[in-house]
């Protein structure tokens, strides 16, 4: 290991890294702006300067940028020399020439990297006498605010947006000291990862508009470590609150999963917690179909009564609810009367994922995806269905450029140079989907195939791989042959598929292909994206009875946990639901199932309830409540388990506060009891209590605080009620406390509720919690991967699809949309403006068959609603496929025969259904 000598002291370095990374990894407070741990160095800001000495005799040294200097053994540097620190101070002084003095009104204030660096270098007195540069700001959509005057021109935003995330509508314009970062004209930033600009920008140019609505300084936020509910990836997030409102979601670094970034569904979709459609209190449906409010005790008594007097009570769980809530339901109704809330189709698909994860197949983490040098995507719309997966694939195709850089002795961190060298040389990525894919721009080959054609192609490739003989070889198509050879000869090939098309055969064919590939290329990996944040958890908990099967058993009482069965199973199924005598629904947002419940129980959202979720790779992760639910809202696990154990009396909040006396003795957190029952009952889940310490966990005798030690105004928060500071609510359910007292710095990663380090108030302080830059958490990476095995699964038998069997009639294909297909995040107000209007996309030939042209409208009448679709002609859609967005409005379309679609006379649809019509009320540009 190379050793650097910095200010006379030896400092370990790592070959292939740069000096800035070595300094930061060693804990040195080295200021920087343009370097980013995930994006490498470009040397723009000149902030991380130090002196490098040519040799032992050199006492003068030369200013170099630590981010642009490779680690070499024995190299001598000085960080503290006057010339070095003077230079760094001069950089800040010059950056500050045009920076406005608006910290007090700037959203970034208090967690601003520029503030931190300014204080760090010791720049104080202003010597500049000139005028400041001013810019016009732009409207960038509902998520991101723009204040260009604060810009210090570090180029991080465009480097993230264009180079890392593949966006093309954010650019640098102009030159000299008038560089402008924005769009060519005001308008919505199109990229699905645009929200990361908020965290990537070292100052307040790009800010979170959702935070601005409930604005609170970082130091006044109450936060906790949460798990994103947006999809199956399980990104780690920090969710923050003040005054009972969710303020924002920030990235929570996880080395193996999301790294430094989130998608916009995850970041902004969490605003559903503040939705006006939240269910505030228990209700009972009256004769008119409206809900009369009910006390929680009365509601529970009613439900107990239903259960006692019903011949059969069933419980429908949910893959978007926690393991604990599902287990509480399962215990309430009995294992034989419980379904995990997935349809038969979903259960089979997720069983396949489970079996693959539990086998000896190589199932990479999201971070490992970036290491594969050839990727085949079979039917998975990663960007819309598991967005961070798409971001990882986008990095994986850069492996070719890294190889080229290696051949030319260019360091990987030398970002601009690597990109210049490689140009558009990318590692192979083949995408087989029915519709255009957002990753097509980095794909070496895009195949537009109907779902059954994807299965057929995949089968053909596997047969070619396993036969290895000339006879089969001659039968395979050239496309299949090309694919087979590409995968076989790659250093590390990866096959990606998932549940996004809802097609079991695609997943089976993917497994078969991976098995065939792994036999000839042992480095081959397989990644299957699951559907929802706890789909894999549900398959692990109890995957026996599907919703359909259970509902067919004529229950008298049915308890539905956080699950809209209409959107899951269609309107036809919903009719069966209404035939059930007593329908009890626990949920936090209004939906079709909620609207037909007899008794409604107000469930807590993810921000108000602890719970364990298992992501697509079988990693159990604990989500911790950020704040206490208001009024009679309570975590589902609490509502269900109190139904079970006859605990009458109180609200969740009271239950917490009343049990304080017994914390040390007999009390056990209710959630802990459930976790232990899961652990004891299901052997694959026996390690779930390892994913976070339980409620008894203490650091230096205290629980872990959710607030920063600088939280201000706590005593004033309820001053309109009483000037006396109220007793802080007690949290007996988790290791966190609703307080600012305690030791956040020494909390394990699974309990750390924000990142902060002395002198580092922004999220850049994350490096203080990493073993090295971009490395593992110093306290261990949170979460625990539950599934692994050695055995290879047997290949599936898939009925061979011949050309004759591939249907040639038009058929519907539902496409996920990052904004709109997830029923929960869609209810976030800001997100709702980005949801496309219903459309149907098809190629010209299919349109001719249907007798429609682009811009036409098609409609179909369902029993209780009418669906209208704008026709979009797109010859990049597979033949015969009618691609429509999976939205609330299009529920039930799958059951319609395409022939029943009627052309709407005189249709005047939206101009561009893919791009929603935003009302530019907050336009400032």
């Amino acid at each position: 290991m190379p050793v650097l000598i910095v200010d006379g002291k030896e400092l370990p370095g790592k070959a292939g890294t740069n000096v800035l990374e070595a300094l930061l990894s060693a804990g040195v407070d080295m200021p920087y702006f343009c370097w980013h741990p995930a994006m490498g160095s470009v040397g723009a800001c000149r902030q991380c300067a130090l002196l490098q000495y040519a040799n032992d005799e050199d006492s003068h040294g030369k200013i170099v940028m630590s981010c642009m200097t490779p680690v070499t053994d024995g190299a001598r540097f000085s960080v503290s020399a006057d010339r070095a620190s003077g230079f760094r101070r001069a950089v800040i002084e010059n950056l500050m020439l045009n920076h406005p003095h608006d910290c007090p009104v700037c959203e970034e204030g208090g967690e601003c990297h520029l503030q931190d660096m300014t204080v760090m270098v010791g720049h104080r007195d202003r010597r500049y006498q000139g005028r400041k540069t001013t810019f016009k700001n732009q409207y960038l959509g509902p998520f991101i605010g723009h204040e260009m005057n604060r810009c210090i021109t570090c180029y991080r935003c465009v480097r993230f947006y264009q180079d890392y995330a593949g966006g093309n509508d954010l650019n640098a314009f102009g030159s000299r000291d008038r560089i402008f970062f924005g769009r060519a004209e005001s308008g919505v930033l199109e990229n699905e990862f645009a929200g990361n600009l908020v965290e990537v920008c070292p100052t307040g140019v790009f800010t979170d508009k959702t935070l601005a609505k409930n604005y609170t300084r970082k130091w006044d936020l109450q936060s906790s470590p949460t798990i994103c509910q947006g999809c199956s990836i399980g990104c780690n997030t920090y969710t923050s609150e003040r005054y009972g409102q969710l303020c924002r979601v920030h990235n929570r670094y996880h080395q193996d999963i999301n790294g430094y970034f989130l998608c916009d569904r995850g970041r902004f979709g969490a605003q559903h917690v503040n939705s006006p459609a939240r269910i505030p209190q228990p209700g009972i449906r009256n004769e008119e179909g409206k809900y009369d409010p009910l006390s929680l005790d009365d509601a529970k008594a009613k439900v107990r009564d239903f259960i006692q007097h019903s011949s059969r009570t069933i419980g429908i769980g949910s893959p978007r609810a926690s393991l604990e809530a599902n287990q509480a339901l399962r215990q309430l109704v009995g294992a034989g009367n419980y379904s995990n809330g997935m349809s038969r189709n979903e259960q089979v698909m997720h069983q396949i994922i489970l079996d693959v994860l539990a086998s000896g197949m190589k199932t990479p983490t999201l971070a490992e995806v970036a290491e594969f040098d050839a990727i085949l995507v079979l039917g998975e719309d990663a960007t819309n269905h598991a967005p961070l997966l798409a971001l990882s694939i986008r990095q994986a195709v850069r492996n070719r450029s890294k190889e080229m850089a290696g051949d030319t002795d260019i360091a990987e961190w030398h970002d601009a140079a690597v990109r210049e060298l490689a140009q558009d040389a990318l590692s192979p990525l083949v995408i087989a989907t029915p519709m255009p894919d957002r990753l097509d721009d980095v794909a070496s080959q895009s195949l537009r195939l109907a779902p059954e054609e994807i299965v057929a192609l995949s089968t053909e490739v596997s047969m070619y791989l396993s036969a290895g003989s000339e006879s089969t070889a001659s039968q395979a198509s050239s496309v299949a042959q090309g694919l087979a050879e590409l995968l076989r000869d790659a250093r590390r090939p990866l096959i990606v598929s998932g549940t996004s098309l809802g097609d079991i055969n695609i997943m089976r064919a993917t497994v078969n292909l991976s098995l065939a590939l792994q036999a000839v290329n042992p480095e081959a990996g397989i990644l299957l994206a699951a559907d929802e944040c706890n789909s894999v958890g549900m398959a692990m908990l109890d995957n026996r009875l599907s919703v359909e099967e259970l509902v067919d058993r004529t229950p008298e009482t049915m308890i539905v946990l956080e699950n809209d069965l209409e959107s899951r199973l269609g309107a036809e199924f919903a009719k069966k639901m209404s035939a059930v005598r007593h329908l009890v629904v626990l949920d936090y947002l209004d939906n079709a199932t909620v609207s037909v419940a007899n008794i409604l129980l107000p469930a807590a959202s993810f921000a108000e309830a602890e719970g364990t979720f298992i992501n697509f790779e079988g990693r159990a992760q604990r989500n911790l409540a950020v704040f206490l639910p208001q009024g009679s809202i309570a975590p589902s696990y609490y509502l269900l388990s109190t139904l079970n154990d006859d605990c009458l009396n109180d609200s969740f909040n009271d239950s917490l506060n009343n049990s304080t006396e017994s914390v040390s003795s007999s009390h056990q957190a209710r959630v802990q009891t459930i976790i232990e029952s899961i652990r004891d009952e299901f052997s694959p889940l026996k390690r779930i209590d390892e994913c976070a310490p339980d409620a008894d966990f203490l650091v230096l005798g205290s629980k872990i605080p959710r607030m920063t030690h600088r939280a201000s105004g706590r005593t004033a928060m309820q001053a309109e009620v009483s000037v006396h500071e109220p007793k802080q609510p007690v949290d007996t359910e988790s290791a966190l406390a609703f307080t600012m007292e305690g030791n956040q710095q020494q909390a394990p990663a699974s309990l750390r509720s924000y990142v902060w380090s002395p002198g580092w108030n922004s999220n850049q302080s994350i490096y203080k919690f990493q073993t090295e830059v971009g490395g593992a958490d110093t306290m261990g990476n949170p979460g625990v991967r539950l599934l692994q095995g050695d055995a290879m699964p047997a290949p599936f038998t898939i009925a061979p699809t011949t050309a004759a069997q591939i249907s040639t009639g038009p058929r519907f294909v539902a496409q996920h949309h990052i904004f709109g297909s997830d029923p929960v995040s869609s209810q976030a107000q800001e997100l709702s403006t980005r949801i496309p209007t219903p459309y149907v996309r098809m190629n010209t030939e299919t349109a001719t068959t249907l007798g429609v042209s682009g811009g036409d409208g098609l409609a179909c009448q369902l029993p209780h609603k009418r669906i209208e679709l704008s026709v979009i002609l797109d010859d990049d859609v597979a033949a015969h496929c009618l691609v429509y967005p999976k939205l609330v409005q299009t529920i039930g379309l799958a059951d319609v025969a395409p022939g029943d679609l009627q052309r709407i006379a005189g249709w005047q649809g939206p101009k561009d259904p893919l791009k929603p019509n935003l009302i530019l009320t907050d336009r400032t540009g």
Binding site: A44, R46, F87, N94, T153, R176, I179
Partner: protein, 432 residues
């Protein structure tokens, strides 16, 4: 064998066409070398000639070329290899390449053919600023003629060597004269210099091995190949080889551009070629090699125009085209004017250049306007130190830009002080 090979065809009236160029020995070197000589042997000749880059930095041309990875090597990769002529002549006070391109375009083309052959480049670009429209037209005409005679294109002169040469008209930014910013501009990207290493020889245009040479540098190649390294070295009067186009602008009797041996003393250029100072003006100082070089004083007049002596005197030979400061012009005004230009031409990538030059300009403007404060001198010195060293900034633009200011603060301190004390420009007030 002319002692002034670069301008031997230039009469200042009609440009040299292909026939005339061939008549004076043009393309002889091409016919002799291409296909017949080993490129390595050609490279040795260029190295032996001690030709140094005429664009300003004076880097030995042969050595620059030798860093291009040999075709077939691991670092060479696969694909095109490029040669680019830097004809983005935007240094204030510099107009030597214009003369060469307008008057004798084939000389540049032949130089590029031979250079491309030496480094195995198959595609070439002449990157030229759009204001040089006369040169652009003449180069295009000459390219067509050379192609028609098989000096360019496929199988040049019947050999296996093919080389396609294009004229690329730039939208024009001073920073495009920086070779890597030029390459980015040529690729259609923002004209931002690249961090080096990697050098263009390894990863240049579109990430491929590339050599960027100044026009004048390339124009020397045919003569070196035709007459040999020894002949070329013998042309110089001092340590450096060959001849150079020197120029003088400002209040001299006859501003202009002349080909003279390397090592010609500055006094000789100024007095014999430029005819001395214009009547009624005294020499106060001069920028020896264009706007981005340090001031020298009358005491430096006997320095030979060679790379090292000028550097030892604290400046750079740069492009060899002097800008003269006379005793009736305000040095501060001249510097302010230059810094305004350099601040405007900053690409805006790195902090010291983007912010630092703009600040310097603001201070100088306020001094000129009579609002200078005594502490401004300290500020200017601080900024000059902050911006001034190669390595402090992303490229050489800002360190070059600050050279007239840094040397001006040293040599014309009294003038700066007079601006502050007198609350305005003494030259305008006629106080001096």
């Amino acid at each position: 064998m002319s002692d002034l090979p670069l301008t031997k065809n230039i009469n200042g009236k009609t440009p040299t066409d292909l026939t005339q160029y061939e008549a004076t020995g043009g393309y002889v070197a091409t016919r002799q070398a291409v296909g017949a000589m080993d490129p390595d042997a050609l490279l040795e000749i260029i190295k032996d000639s001690n030709l140094r880059g005429r664009g300003g930095a004076g880097f030995p041309t042969g050595m620059k070329w030798s860093f291009v990875p040999k075709p077939g090597s691991r670092a060479a990769g696969e694909g095109h290899r490029y040669l680019v002529a830097n004809a983005d002549e935007m240094e204030p006070g510099t107009f030597k390449d214009r003369l060469l391109m307008e008057q004798d375009p084939h000389q540049l083309i032949e130089g590029m053919i031979l250079a491309a052959y030496t480094i195995s480049a198959d595609i070439g670009y002449i990157f030229i600023r759009h204001e040089y429209h006369v040169a652009i037209a003449r180069l295009r005409e000459a390219l067509a003629a050379a192609e028609a005679s098989n000096y360019l294109g496929a199988h040049i002169c019947g050999s296996d060597f093919s080389f396609r040469l294009h004229v690329h008209v730039s939208a024009g930014r001073y920073i495009c004269g920086e070779e890597t910013a030029l390459l980015n501009a040529l690729e259609g990207k923002r004209a931002i210099p690249r961090a080096k290493p990697p050098f263009p020889q390894v990863s240049g245009l579109w990430g491929r091995p590339t050599i960027v040479n100044n026009v004048e540098t390339l124009c020397n190649i045919p003569h070196i190949v035709a007459h040999g390294a020894d002949w070329f070295r013998s042309l110089g009067r001092g340590k450096d080889s060959g001849t150079k186009l020197f120029g003088a602008s400002g209040r001299v009797a006859r501003p202009g551009c002349w080909e003279l041996p390397m090592g010609t003393p500055i006094r000789e250029i100024l007095e014999e070629q430029a005819g001395g100072m214009a009547a009624g003006y005294q020499l106060k100082g001069f920028l020896p090699g264009g706007a981005s070089t340090d001031f020298l004083l009358p005491e430096h007049l006997d320095l030979p125009m060679d790379y090292e002596p000028v550097m030892q005197a604290g400046s750079r030979m740069g492009t060899g085209t002097m800008i003269i400061l006379d005793d009736r012009s305000c040095p501060l005004g001249m510097i302010a004017n230059l810094e305004k230009f350099f601040a405007r031409e900053s690409c805006g990538f790195c902090t010291p250049c983007r912010e630092g030059l703009a600040w310097v300009q603001q201070i100088l403007d306020s001094m000129e306007a009579g609002a200078g404060r005594p502490e401004d001198l300290r500020l200017l010195e601080d900024q000059a130190e902050f911006i001034g060293a190669i390595g402090n900034t992303h490229c050489a633009h800002a360190p070059g830009a600050i050279e007239p200011l840094a040397s001006g603060l040293k040599y014309f301190a009294d003038d700066f002080k007079a601006h502050i004390d007198g609350k305005g420009c003494p030259y305008k007030q006629g106080a001096n």
